[in-house]
């Protein structure tokens, strides 16, 4: 170790005396590094690839995915709205637009649009709803039959005119049945909308089948993955967006994108945005801290320059070593802004301090030589905190470890060369002393040392009490931006029980076995429902087929009608039909018949009159007639549907229920809210206890969570051991090494407690914080111990530039990590919050508790 300062001094002197050459080298190398970093930049967001997966849970999932490829790597295109007709029309148009781009998609699966399921749609209603729908059809029968017979406005109004006239003449009983009122109201409503500008056809289905709930029609798109591309999902999503843009979406219909593919893609976008935002905020914060803390433009420039050059080199080396960033390692680029300047700040402030007693060149060489070993030690120990993940199965953090570890070494080298070179060509800044010139503080701290130590002990006990409840949220969803469209849609689908990604799957040899298993599984407390292939068929089909038979009796020949084309009638015919209806309505009113209908009748007469005077009768006729004709076409198919069996299900649907090798799929649905990781665990374990071979997203996430927790423990132990060894070697004092370690252990404890108190559990991203506490926190400890020794005690330490450097460097780091907590990306956000808290604790502990501890230890023997 004694040779190091000599070598360092020689190097430093060379750098200072050849400052222009050194700067020139940087001037050439930095743009080159920038070019490498920018052209080679890649980011991968596949969270599963971030973890090296092995174990039974992975094999089971792989087997399942091989047999049922239709369930993996999906994008859901969710069409929803109140109007069944509008939702289905939009979904059909969208499906066609997607299929037109099928070179990008392995499969476009639109189950609700399939003609077979469309034909059997009525069978999927509950018997009660189906019965109600048939009553509604009975209400509409006169109008349906009239339009089928004469597809014009005259034909439609004629049947009503005729009923009113005949009722007024006393030839038939008053037609004011519920059905008649319903039709008047329906026509009045549509005529009013046409007068207000509506141009799409009337939808009887909305009126007759609507249950008041939101209708969802989901198209499942599987992209054709091209692994050669940087962002394999980008062109899948951009083509889906293009298909959506090409689709005419009526008001009241929403088209949203969700599913694994967009969630992962959004994850990258969100991580990049977050990194950019945090980076910008961190840079601004840095200016503020430096302006207030350093008050020298030259030094601020030196610090900034060092940071930028170091960042560029780190990014360039990352593309060489790891090849790509992931959504976690990307944030090291932000962290570097805060960490990279630390070394520069220590160096610059020492230089400023040394200038008080030395010439510029001597001061530069001296500060470099004096502080260099500490900086190198800090660089190594910080790197260890990061590199600790390298030997684990958590590839994502291992990659970050490599990038960051290299980054810390780069930061050290750049600081020790670029800063002296840069400052050597500048005029020396005015020298300054400590920000804590008053040694009374030292005395105060010394006097209060017992109180400080006791308080620390008590706080630690309190923290330990809370820290016992710290837990790990293994869910991938915990990392996503909860406000992104994909995530909000995903949560809505899960809440509405339309789709859950956390179902578990199990394969059985035959349908009977599935049914037996269903009974057994439904007894489990965590299981809400079990879907066997038969459950995808309508239930109670026999009864419903009887009900459909009723409808065939009611609608008579309409069921077997031949398709009729709409041809507009003349404007005169339309006028005449309206006039005849008005006369009949007047006649009916004059006869003093049912008063209940009169308001609707009056309103319909007025709406028709308005359509006539506004020249909207053409639009009214076409909307009414085409709407009713298309409904009749569907009814002829739907009312003659026979029993739906597994054999006559569409092939694409069948492939989702039965594997090519013959096994049938049993899907097990969770009872509890799967946004709670404890519930996922309970559900998965509950099902696995009965069916060890069941698989599903929960099982995979639990498996991956296990890998992460293992990696976390392994990395923390490695970081601690490595750093302790480095401390032992560097400080050559077991007791000082322990003294440096105590604040770090306490910081970790307080951070766990904070996680529990603020309800921010550990997750796949923020587990990196704990090894980092040791890696980054040890720097300040080393500086304090070194300075404590150099200045021979407490007073000298506090009077030196070290506390200011510590404060400033920790503040810049805090600012950077604080900026991370502005992220929309939940993983990055949680790292930001926990690291900010951790560093704050660590700052207080290192600046106050560590000196007191050192003072207490070293005074007693003396």
């Amino acid at each position: 170790m004694t040779r190091l300062p000599t070598a360092l001094a020689a190097c430093s002197r060379w750098v200072v005396t050849h400052a222009h050459l050194v700067l020139a080298i940087y001037l050439v190398l930095t743009p080159l590094a920038a070019w490498i970093a920018v052209t080679g930049f890649e980011i991968n967001s596949n969270t599963e690839r971030l973890i090296r997966q092995h174990g039974e849970w992975r094999e089971l999932q792989d087997q399942f995915e091989a047999k049922f490829p239709g369930y993996t790597n999906l994008t859901f295109v969710v069409v929803s709205g109140q109007s069944i007709q509008h939702v289905n029309d939009t979904a059909h148009e969208l499906e066609a637009a997607l299929r037109a781009r099928d070179e990008y998609f392995a499969e476009v699966y639109a189950p609700a649009n399939d003609p077979v399921l469309d034909r059997h749609a009525l069978l999927y209603l509950s018997p009660d709803r189906l019965d109600a729908v048939i009553s509604n059809l009975a209400d509409a029968q006169p109008v349906l039959a009239a339009v089928d017979e004469t597809p014009t406005l005259g034909g439609l109004l004629g049947v009503l005119t005729d009923s009113l006239e005949r009722a007024a003449d006393g030839e038939i009983a008053d037609p004011a049945s519920p059905g008649f009122s319903t039709m008047l109201e329906l026509l009045r409503g549509y005529a009013g909308e046409v007068n207000a500008g509506r141009s799409d056809p009337i939808s009887l289905r909305d009126r007759f089948i609507d249950s008041g709930d939101t209708t969802y029609n989901i198209i499942f798109v599987r992209g054709r993955l091209s692994y050669g591309d940087n962002l394999p999902n980008a062109h899948i999503l951009s083509n889906i967006d293009a298909a959506v843009a090409a689709t005419d979406i009526p008001p009241g219909v929403q088209v949203r994108i969700s599913g694994k593919t967009p969630l992962e893609h959004g994850d990258i976008a969100s991580a990049m945005d977050s990194a950019q935002l945090a980076g910008t905020v961190a840079c601004l914060f840095l200016v503020v801290v430096l302006v207030f803390g350093v008050r020298s433009l030259r030094i601020i420039l030196a610090v900034y320059l060092t940071m930028l050059v170091g960042l560029t080199f780190t990014a360039a080396v990352a593309t060489f070593t790891v090849g790509e960033f992931n959504t976690i390692s990307i944030i090291f680029l932000v962290m570097f802004i805060g960490l990279g300047v630390d070394f520069a700040i220590h160096l610059c402030l020492r230089y400023q301090e040394d200038l008080a007693s030395q010439q510029q060149v001597e001061a530069l060489v001296h500060s470099n030589t004096d502080i260099g070993p500490a900086l190198m030690l800090c660089g190594i120990s910080s790197a260890m905190g990061f590199v600790a993940f390298v030997p684990t199965d958590y590839v994502g953090l291992a990659e970050m470890g490599i990038i960051s570890g290299v980054g810390m070494i780069i930061a050290t080298i750049v600081s020790l060369t670029l800063i002296p070179a840069f400052l050597a060509v500048c005029k020396p800044p005015a020298p300054v002393g400590s920000i804590l010139p008053n040694t009374n503080i030292a005395l105060g701290l010394q006097r209060a040392s017992r109180a400080i130590l006791v308080t620390t002990l008590l706080v630690s006990l309190g923290a330990a009490f809370f820290a016992r409840d710290v837990y790990f949220d293994f869910s991938n969803l915990a990392l996503r931006d909860p406000d992104s469209e994909a995530m909000r849609t995903f949560v809505e689908l899960q809440d509405e029980k339309v789709i859950t990604e956390y179902a578990m799957q199990f394969l059985v040899a035959d349908p009977d076995e599935a049914i037996a298993l269903k009974a057994k599984l439904k007894g489990l407390p965590t299981v809400k429902d079990v879907l066997v292939p038969g459950d995808y068929l309508p239930q109670d089909q026999e009864e419903k087929l009887f009900l459909l038979d009723d409808a065939r009796f009611l609608l008579g020949s309409l069921v077997e009608r031949e398709a009729v084309a709409y041809e507009p009638s003349s404007r005169d015919d339309q006028k005449a039909a309206i006039a005849a209806f008005e006369r009949a309505a007047r006649h009916y009113r004059e006869a003093g018949l049912d008063a209940d209908t009169s308001a609707d009748l009056e309103a319909l007469v007025n709406a028709l009159g308005a359509a006539d005077s506004n020249d909207r009768t053409g639009a009214l006729e076409s909307g009414l007639v085409t709407g009713i004709l298309s409904e009749l076409d569907w009814l002829s198919r739907a009312l003659t549907a026979g029993e739906l069996t597994l054999d006559n299900l569409p092939a694409a649907t069948r492939a989702r229920l039965q594997a090519p090798s013959g096994e049938f799929l049993v899907t097990i649905l969770p009872a509890a809210d799967m946004s709670d990781p404890q519930e996922i665990r309970a559900f998965t374990n509950n099902v696995k206890a009965l069916l060890p071979e069941a698989t599903g997203r929960g099982a995979v996430e639990l498996g991956m969570g296990g890998v992460v927790v293992d990696a976390f423990i392994k990395a923390t132990l490695l970081a601690c051991t490595g750093i302790f060894l480095v401390l032992l070697i560097a400080l050559r004092s077991a007791i000082d090494a322990v003294a440096v370690f105590v604040p770090l252990a306490l910081t970790a404890l307080l951070t766990f407690a904070t996680s529990v108190v603020i309800g921010l559990p550990l997750n796949m991203a923020n587990v990196v914080v704990i090894p980092l506490i040791f890696g980054l926190g040890v720097d300040n400890g080393i500086h304090v111990v070194k300075r404590f020794r150099d200045s021979e005690g407490f007073d000298g330490l506090l009077a030196s530039s070290t506390p200011r450097a510590l404060l400033l460097s920790t503040l810049t780091t805090l600012g950077t990590f604080g900026a991370l907590s502005l992220s929309s990306h939940q993983g990055i956000y949680s790292i930001g919050v926990l690291l900010t808290c951790a560093l704050s604790f660590q700052l207080v502990l290192t600046l106050i508790v560590l000196p007191v501890l050192l003072d207490t230890i070293h005074r007693r023997p003396g």
Binding site: I134, A138, Q141, L547, D549, R552, F553
Partner: protein
Amino acid sequence: MFQRLHCGKAAAFVALCSVSFGFQALANEGLATVEQLHTTLISSMQPGQDFTARCDQLEPVITEIFDVQTIARVSLGRHWRGLDADGQARVAQALTRLLVSTFAARFDKFNNHRFETLGEETMSGNRRMVKTLLVTPSETVSLDYMLTQRDDTWRIYDIVAQGVSDLSLKRSAYSDAFASGGIDEVLELIHHATPAAP
């Protein structure tokens, strides 16, 4: 509109259709049932017969040629299957009385009534449609009879007058009534609609 239809080119269309119907219907079995109804109605309107006498004359024929079970079943929809045998019988009985009384009240006095048969059409599910016109000096009304075969006899289950299905009207009214007040409300509604002797 039906008036216009029957006077003009539509009448020719209907006649044309009835030719093709002829090919489809192997035997005009449904027609026989409808003509039996028409003959009975015309004969019930002979002078000197009061409402009660007309009812007595119509009842056995209507009981024979109308499928009251189907009318009751389709009218009540899902509720029908929930009724016990007694309830079903009461509804069927009330509906028979409604049919008989309605015919007796409507066809009360012979005024040169004339029924014209336009043709017969087969439909799926062993059903047939017989299209007719009722012509009186004051108007022409289209009457389409819907028939189904039970016990080798074709029986009427619906009459579509001027495009309005009587069975649909019943379904609209009775299924709502049953939902709100059960079988009693349905029987009450039928009773209310049944014309009584003047």
